[in-house]
């Protein structure tokens, strides 16, 4: 689906938000895709992604089902890339999220050399993706553009909540949770980093950008309450 396409935000905010994902086509090139997807993830690691994941199992930030009471004081939140990579066991979508254009572009350049043979997509500002293709000597094959939201847009929340929530295209980061975490940052009960990681755990596909979320939360916390 268009899970990464409709991220809300102004162009300048979206400059720090790049998703690169790999996907085999069912019935065309998926029989040996698992190893290729693992290789995609391993290579991505070298370029300092801010999130990494497998849409079937989740990613760096994910819910844990066997917590003890100490979690409320000491919670292990460091990413575990090996868990993600070793967990890929069937063809699907794997993704890496980058904050910096240069990191994303160098990863794409490496993918071009690697020639995995599965489809590679960049979901980002259109002109930045085009620039990356040009720099990497890649001819764009197809492009899907976001035209934004129509209909009862009065049902949508304030800008910052929408920016946070739409970083999960499947809608599993609720407006209310985004608002709750923003309020906790505003009240000093959570740091922007802690709040961003909490939100990231709800995005199963791991295309949530915690670095961008930190910036949004920190900026909104300093702004007057709407």
């Amino acid at each position: 689906m268009t899970h990464s396409l409709h991220r809300f935000g102004r162009s300048e905010d979206l400059t720090g938000d790049y998703i690169v994902f790999a996907m085999p086509a069912r019935g065309f090139n998926d029989s040996d895709a698992v190893e290729k997807e693992k290789e995609f993830l391993r290579r991505a690691l070298k370029h300092r992604p801010v999130n990494l994941g497998d849409a079937k199992r989740g990613g760096w930030y994910r819910a844990q089902k066997d917590l003890g009471p100490a979690v409320h004081w000491r919670r292990a939140t460091d990413p575990d890339p090996e868990w993600v990579i070793n967990g890929v066991d069937a063809p699907g979508i794997v993704a890496a999220v980058f904050e910096a254009y240069d990191a994303m572009a160098s990863f794409v350049r490496e993918l071009r050399e690697l020639d995995l043979g599965v489809s590679i997509n960049i979901s980002a500002l259109a002109h930045r993706a085009a620039q990356c293709c040009q720099e990497c000597d890649i001819t764009r094959h197809s492009v899907e553009y976001s035209l934004g939201f129509l209909g009862r847009t009065d049902k949508l929340p304030e800008k910052e909540i929408l920016e946070l929530s739409t970083m999960c295209g499947h809608g599993t980061i609720s407006f209310a949770l985004a608002g709750k975490m923003l309020e906790r940052v505003r009240c000093g009960r959570r740091t922007p980093e802690e709040a961003a990681r909490t939100l990231a755990r709800f995005c199963v596909c791991s295309i949530f950008n915690p670095a961008r979320a930190e910036r949004i939360l920190a900026g909104a916390a300093r702004s007057p309450t709407p």
């Binding site: 991220r7 065309f28 489809s119 997509n121 009862r152 809608g171």
Partner: protein, 268 residues
């Protein structure tokens, strides 16, 4: 989805987590309850929340004792302390809620996760969207508002009126009883889902007609919709939509770009 009243300790962490706002604390029984009509069975609460397995009697005692002194505990906001969230067996037609809402459900029609198809993500391999065509992806209910099939049918009918042919492999098309008119199985019309995607392709010359129809029908629905449109690039990597969309009032901002690095290889 339901919340086990024997295990719930009224911590309310799950209330904010629900994308549809379907969970609340019932002040009479002092437990979290799910509004089944609003719940879309997305599993965001069950799957997204981390779980502890604390003794509910002990936790209620601690919470009420602290409450007597107006003390406030500041727990992790994404943890259910007693694993009280319980999935239910779903029957027709309610099961369509989960099919269109739970991101980890695989559709029989597509074989992939999610509510849509591979679209242009694998177009370099499948060639499903050819030169001269625009592929539309209209997602009703997104972002996080949810949609009833009644509204989805309203949009589908408006598009069918202008001659659109819906993508056969799309899960929503499979629910249509008459795709030529955009009619959806009446048994599901009142069901609510996180979102559903209407997918179709049209000749590039009809992009304006489709955008106009979408603009008009958007005023008649009780939800939001996210619209995407795709095309194939020429051998220089250029495409006509980059010129057309701004002309129709849609600036080029975000996009998903298929790099053309895929190829047909080992077929399963």
């Amino acid at each position: 989805m339901r919340i086990d009243p024997k295990r719930c300790v009224e911590c309310a962490n799950c209330v904010a987590v629900c994308p549809m706002g379907a969970i609340s604390i019932d002040p009479t029984i002092r437990r979290a309850v799910v509004d089944e009509d609003e719940c879309v069975e997305c599993f965001a609460c069950y799957r997204g929340m981390s779980m502890e397995s604390m003794n509910p009697i002990l936790i209620r005692f601690i919470r009420r004792t602290l409450g007597l002194f107006r003390f406030r505990f500041d727990p992790e906001p994404d943890v259910c302390p007693t694993s009280a969230i319980i999935p239910q067996e779903l029957e027709w037609p309610r099961v369509v809620r989960r099919v269109f809402s739970d991101v980890l459900m695989t559709h029989e029609s597509t074989g992939i996760l999610g509510r849509g198809t591979e679209e242009v993500k694998t177009n370099d391999v499948t060639g499903r969207l050819g030169p001269g065509f625009a592929g539309f992806v209209v997602e009703l209910g997104r972002p996080s508002v949810g949609a009833r099939f009644q509204d989805i049918q309203t949009v589908a009918m408006a598009l069918a009126e202008i001659g659109v042919e819906f993508e056969e492999k799309n899960p929503l098309t499979g629910l249509m009883t008459d795709p030529t008119r955009g009619l959806i199985n009446p048994e599901v019309l009142s069901e609510k889902v996180m979102s559903a995607i209407i997918e179709f392709r049209t000749p590039m010359g009809q992009v304006g007609l489709v955008l106009t129809a979408l603009g008009h029908v958007a005023e008649r629905i009780d939800t939001v919709m996210a619209v995407g449109v795709a095309t194939r690039c020429d051998d220089k990597g250029e495409n006509e939509l980059e010129r057309l969309l701004p002309e129709y009032g849609y600036p080029i901002v975000r996009a998903k770009t298929n790099l053309g690095l895929g190829r047909v290889e080992a077929v399963s």
